[in-house]
């Protein structure tokens, strides 16, 4: 199998970038997309050129490192999957694929397909936690939590912080990411004492980091590899309004 690649190459944060084309040949449809990039990179190395830089680590859809758009779609064509979980059998032999980094104001490109997503960490640092020190916890079964609530909290907590939601949003909004954390903690009894403060601080951090506003297009939900529901955004908006009114 064979693919034509148009890949974004950019030397550094400061420099401009451009597309370069590469022919990837002799591919096996059971290869993953990233394994295909490995092959291309080894060939570039052999030719004395610099390989394409891209973030990746677990290669099984959980660390949230891999982050690229394939033909304009963050994480490529498969629903509910990360880039590292895309296999070449999803493409047609001879197809042309355009590969780009996340495009968002709050995620500057560092090199090629690598972006700086530290703004997400700053949102969590602002309030995405329960303030409990090591050693302060009561017995784990002292506080029963209904099975369904626990499951719902897990659904929200499953976000991998990849940033595809931001890349897919035309406003570059981080609402889905933030809402997932606000909801994970807000759904559980442990998260109640700081519920109002948490959402306020996280929204402030989000604005400060340069993320845009949400205009309810839900492009985020469509690309999210963990299928985080956009309903959480409505929930967060409610919490935020209530927190401003000091009613939470």
């Amino acid at each position: 199998m064979k693919l034509h690649l148009r890949v974004w190459r950019q030397k550094s944060k400061e420099s401009g970038g451009h597309f370069e084309t590469y022919e990837a040949e002799g591919l096996n449809p059971n290869m993953s997309f990233l394994e295909m990039l490995d092959v291309v990179n080894d060939r570039l190395t052999q030719e004395g050129k610099e390989p394409i830089a891209f973030d990746h680590d677990c290669r099984e859809g959980i660390c949230g490192s891999c982050a690229m758009a394939i033909n304009g779609e963050p994480h490529g064509p498969n629903k509910g999957a990360t880039t590292c979980q895309v296999y070449l059998r999803s493409f047609k032999d001879g197809e042309t694929l355009t590969v780009e980094p996340w495009r968002a104001k709050a995620f500057p490109v560092l090199k090629d397909l690598v972006t700086d997503r530290s703004a997400f960490d700053r949102i969590i640092q602002a309030g995405g936690f329960v303030s409990v020190n090591t050693g302060q916890a009561p017995d784990a079964n002292a506080m029963p939590i209904g099975k369904e609530e626990a499951e719902k909290a897990f659904d929200a907590a499953h976000c991998i912080g990849c940033g595809a939601c931001v890349a897919a949003c035309r406003n570059g909004s981080a609402m889905l990411f933030a809402a997932a954390k606000v909801s994970h903690l807000g759904l559980l009894p442990q998260g109640q004492p700081e519920r109002a403060e948490r959402v306020r601080k996280m929204v402030e951090a989000m604005d400060a980091a340069g993320f845009g506003n949400c205009s309810n297009q839900y492009a985020c939900e469509a690309v999210c590899p963990k299928e985080i529901s956009a309903d959480w955004i409505a929930r967060m908006n409610r919490d935020y309004a209530l927190s401003l009114a000091q009613k939470l």
Partner: protein, 639 residues
């Protein structure tokens, strides 16, 4: 060299309590005068950094990923053990302790393991308080499942993403401290050397992976929480970036390396499908709660699974180990799978696979229950293989998964280099020659949340704060920085004919063939020769493009593979010198008539601890004897 494990006196069950109530303390006002470096933000590193900062220490934290949340721990699937006995099925601290010692085939330190079992219960409390959404029963209580090597249900889990949820809990605690300014976080930084000055660990040298800048950081103590080194085998279930560099560099600076040959090969992974493959994917051990392993009774039986009648199937684990069945420990299950494949009864096109079959469970529980328990694992399997495990059995095969070996530490988790502490998978401490499932997460969090905060205080209380000199002023820092610079330059200057991956793959193949599931003297000797040859070739013919002054992933990989090429040789030597079989370490020369491990306790009831001697020189092997006072040394039986 005499290795002093510094195990407190007194009865086993009281050692830790006694230790805690008698350790030296650092007063709250003094804590903020101490600076502590924590390398790694997995379960061990994130929990340690957060807990130390909460106590008031100044912490500098490092990881090579772009965010601390992406450490390899995030990928753990199945669960975490704790002796809560919430199921009323007879569990206790004592039983978890015994299971772990036995599971490790009597090659772990009793006192450490007992402490681990004791603090296991606090871990679950802490994680729940942080908001970790563990699985629950309808009544709202925490749910449990069973893992290998245990006859009780003590494993807590969050669907198939327990590691993710535990790590996010620790990451959130760490983030809170970063927000408060008590932890300074350095993501995309790689530690490339340890600085030892006046006999103590005083700092590290890092490379900023974006700008290439080398920097020296000084501190009153250094914690390495940098994970395992299983990627030496190239193909493994580890994240691609997992590496041995931090502990290997520390080893070269004097820290002893223990039991390097103890590597866990996990029985249930998706089989290799082609030589382009970059990693292997684990199918969690939890699947063996409901999945049954089998192969055809006949050799070369190529019929599809569904066409092989019940009577012509060999449920080999149930047959060989009736009392634990499909939940036999990992080393045993892996070897059994290898054995049936060696007999020509393996399945799949390569013949290197066995079935993990859920049809009985689906019949018993209904598909929806099975889906609820394992949906994400089945989805992952489907994505990779294109097959549905609801319809046909999974095909699985053993793969490299975890390293029990690591830097030697005493009861305080301190290495033989004063001030250098090692936590989590990076140390050798608690799992002996085989780790039981769901025990790594437990150990990482035990080390970081509940053990180190006590033992570090004891060390610091003996040293004045700010004892480490400014990095710009000492020769040790200069020397280390220059050494890193020189090595970077050397790697970039070779411009040979082969990419780094070529060497890594070949190293992996050598280790898998000679230092894998089955080992022999001859094979190990061949392995050592082959690795030496490969290492020489690497330094003459590797091609590392680009420069050292910016983001250069080829350079990162080259440095890591260069270290694996040294460590790989030590793994083989350790396997060669340990002339017995135990746990994961199966020397064909030493087996019982039915093919199980034959230990030689008189000669090898000890921990090996290797001392670096300099470039190209043979390392010296030391030993820390192990005494078994509470659990009788016995031949492990899961029959």
């Amino acid at each position: 060299m005499k290795l002093d494990p510094r195990i407190p006196d007194g009865p086993l069950a009281q050692k830790w309590t006694k230790f805690k109530s008698s350790v030296r303390l650092v007063s709250p006002a003094n804590k903020r005068k101490y600076e502590v470096i924590v390398v790694g933000t997995g379960l061990a590193g994130a929990s340690a950094a957060a807990s130390l900062a909460e106590l008031g220490y100044r912490v500098k934290s490092f990881c090579f990923q772009d965010s601390p949340r992406r450490a390899h721990s995030i990928a753990a699937q199945g669960g975490i053990n704790a002796a809560k006995n919430y199921q009323n099925d007879g569990d206790s601290v004592r039983r978890l302790f015994q299971d772990t010692i036995k599971g490790g085939d009597f090659r772990a330190r009793e006192a450490n393991v007992h402490r681990l079992a004791e603090v296991s219960v606090n871990i679950i409390d802490q994680c729940v308080a942080q908001g970790v959404p563990f699985a629950r029963e309808y009544g709202g209580m925490l749910a449990n499942r069973s893992f290998g090597g245990a006859q009780v249900s003590r494993t807590f889990y969050a669907r198939g993403a327990t590691g993710q949820q535990l790590l996010l809990g620790a990451y959130q605690a760490l983030s809170r401290q970063i927000g408060l300014g008590r932890v300074r976080m350095h993501p995309r930084h790689e530690m490339l050397d340890l600085v030892v000055d006046q006999g103590r660990a005083q700092g590290i040298i890092t490379r900023n992976l974006v700008t290439g800048e080398l920097r020296a950081h000084e501190a009153d103590a250094v914690l390495l929480c940098t994970g395992g080194y299983g990627n030496a085998y190239y193909l493994s279930t580890y994240a691609r970036g997992s590496n041995a560099t931090a502990i290997w560099r520390a080893h070269r600076r004097g820290a002893l390396f223990s039991n390097p040959c103890f590597t866990q090969i996990h029985p249930t992974c998706i089989p290799v499908s082609g030589d382009y493959q970059s990693k292997l994917t684990l199918m969690s051990e939890s699947l063996r709660n409901d999945g049954r392993c089998w192969v055809p009774k006949a050799q070369e039986d190529r019929r599809p699974a569904a066409q092989i009648p019940e009577g012509e199937r060999d449920y080999f684990l149930e047959r060989m180990y009736p009392s634990y069945g499909n939940l036999a420990p990992r080393d045993i299950a892996s070897r059994a799978a290898k054995r049936v494949c060696d007999e020509g009864r393996g399945v799949g096109s390569s013949g290197l696979g066995v079935y993990l079959d859920f049809s009985e469970a689906i019949g018993r529980l209904g598909e929806s229950t099975v889906r609820e328990r394992y949906a994400n694992l089945f989805a992952m399997y489907h994505e990779i293989t294109g097959e549905s495990a609801y319809e046909a059995p999974m095909r699985i095969f053993p793969a490299v998964h975890y390293t029990m070996g690591g830097l030697w530490v005493d009861y305080h988790l301190m290495s033989n280099v004063p001030g250098l502490f090692v936590l989590g998978e990076a140390n050798f401490s608690d799992h002996g020659a085989n780790r039981l499932g769901a025990s790594a997460l437990m150990q990482g969090l035990a080390d970081g949340y509940f053990v180190l905060p006590y033992t570090l205080g004891d060390y610091l209380a003996q040293h004045k704060p700010g004892g480490a000199k400014k990095a710009s002023e000492t020769e040790a820092f200069w020397e280390a920085t220059e050494a890193v610079q020189a090595r970077t330059k050397k790697l970039l200057g070779i411009r040979g004919g082969k990419p780094v991956s070529d060497f890594h793959r070949r190293l992996g193949k050598i280790l898998w063939d000679h230092c894998g599931m089955s080992r022999t003297r001859k094979g190990l000797e061949q392995g050592i020769d082959a690795i030496r040859g490969l290492r020489k070739e690497f330094w003459e013919d590797v091609n590392v493009p680009g420069s050292g002054e910016d983001l250069n992933q080829s350079l990162e990989k080259a440095g890591r593979v260069a270290d694996f090429l040294e460590l790989g040789e030590l793994m083989c030597r350790d396997a060669l010198e340990r002339d017995e079989s135990c746990g994961c370490h199966f020397r064909e020369e030493h087996q019982t008539p039915d093919g199980e491990c034959a230990r030689r306790d008189k000669e090898f009831s000890h921990v090996s601890a290797w001392e670096y001697q300099g470039e190209g020189k043979a390392e010296v092997r030391h030993a820390e004897p192990l005494a078994f006072e509470e659990v009788q040394l016995a031949t492990r039986s899961y029959k």
